[in-house]
């Protein structure tokens, strides 16, 4: 009996939850950006499609004063993900407390390499003897800073 009730209730609850979470198109714009104000005559190249989502409660990327702009954050996230200068054909959809941005990541000429193209960073480690010398230099520098203060 319990199993039957469970089997009937579970799909009903699932349908109910799915109904609560509706998504709707908020706005569609040909181009949006958080990192540029307008192109200075540079040529733009398409990086590829982008899909970024910013939800309530997530740590904001650009808002620092306690007021969070949902669209601002979605754009900043998309630009950070792809290294884009702006997002073309941007579609903003609101769904389940999230702002979803879909569009095409575009990069302006001379805007710097995208983060993915930079590759893993490596740092040269000095040999042991040099490390001791380096530690001494840092200690001297710190002492100097304390004296100056």
């Amino acid at each position: 009996m319990k199993t039957t009730i469970g089997l009937v209730l579970a799909p009903l609850l699932m349908v109910g939850c799915a109904d609560v979470c509706q998504s709707y198109l908020l706005v569609q714009m040909p181009a949006v950006s958080m990192s540029m104000r307008a192109s200075q005559g540079q040529r733009a190249t398409a990086i590829g499609p982008v899909n970024a989502k910013f939800c309530y409660g997530e740590p904001p990327l650009v808002s620092q004063d306690g007021t969070v702009g949902l669209i601002d954050e979605a754009i900043a996230k998309a630009e950070k993900q792809t290294g884009a200068s702006y997002i073309a054909d941007a579609r903003f959809t609101q769904s389940c407390g999230c702002m979803i941005l879909e569009g095409t990541a575009m990069r302006l000429e001379g805007a710097g390499p995208p983060p993915a193209a930079q590759g893993p960073r490596s740092y040269a480690v000095p040999p042991m003897a040099d490390r001791a010398g380096l530690a001494k230099t840092i200690a001297l520098h710190d002492r100097g800073a304390c004296t100056r203060r």
Partner: protein, 133 residues
């Protein structure tokens, strides 16, 4: 006894944590650097600050027409219309003559505006920014 003390300590910590947590306020957009109305993203000529709004009247708690949308507020900002009223009378066609067609906006923010006089009122979604042609 020790269980109760544990619950009390946990409750106090939870309350203290909630009190100290920074409160975040959310709005649709706060300060978008660049919003373009067409595919041309080249620098244009500034026409100064621009404001566009989409409003709805309500009487005795009943909304006349549809809720204000960002889409219409942005369209009004582009045409320097000021505001449009989405109600049963004009169907949200806008109240002023179409102005210059802007190419893009910078420093775009949204805000809510309006008033409530008890049995009737108005609610607006306002878009502000710097307009460029």
């Amino acid at each position: 006894m020790s269980g109760r003390i544990g619950i009390l300590v946990a409750g106090s910590l939870l309350l203290a944590g909630t009190g100290c947590a920074p409160q975040l306020h959310y709005q649709v957009s706060k300060d978008i650097s660049f919003v373009s109305y067409d595919e041309n993203v080249a620098k244009g000529v500034s026409v100064g600050p621009i404001r566009g709004a989409d409003c709805t009247w309500f009487v005795l708690g009943h909304v006349l027409g549809s809720q204000p949308t960002l889409d219409r507020a942005l369209t009004n900002a582009r045409q320097a219309r000021g505001e449009s009223v989405s109600d049963a009378v004009n169907g949200g066609m806008g109240t002023a003559v179409a102005g210059p067609n802007l190419r893009y906006l910078t420093d775009v923010s949204t805000d809510h505006d309006g008033f409530n006089a008890g049995f009737f009122g108005k609610t607006c979604l306002v878009v502000k920014g710097m307009g460029y042609k």
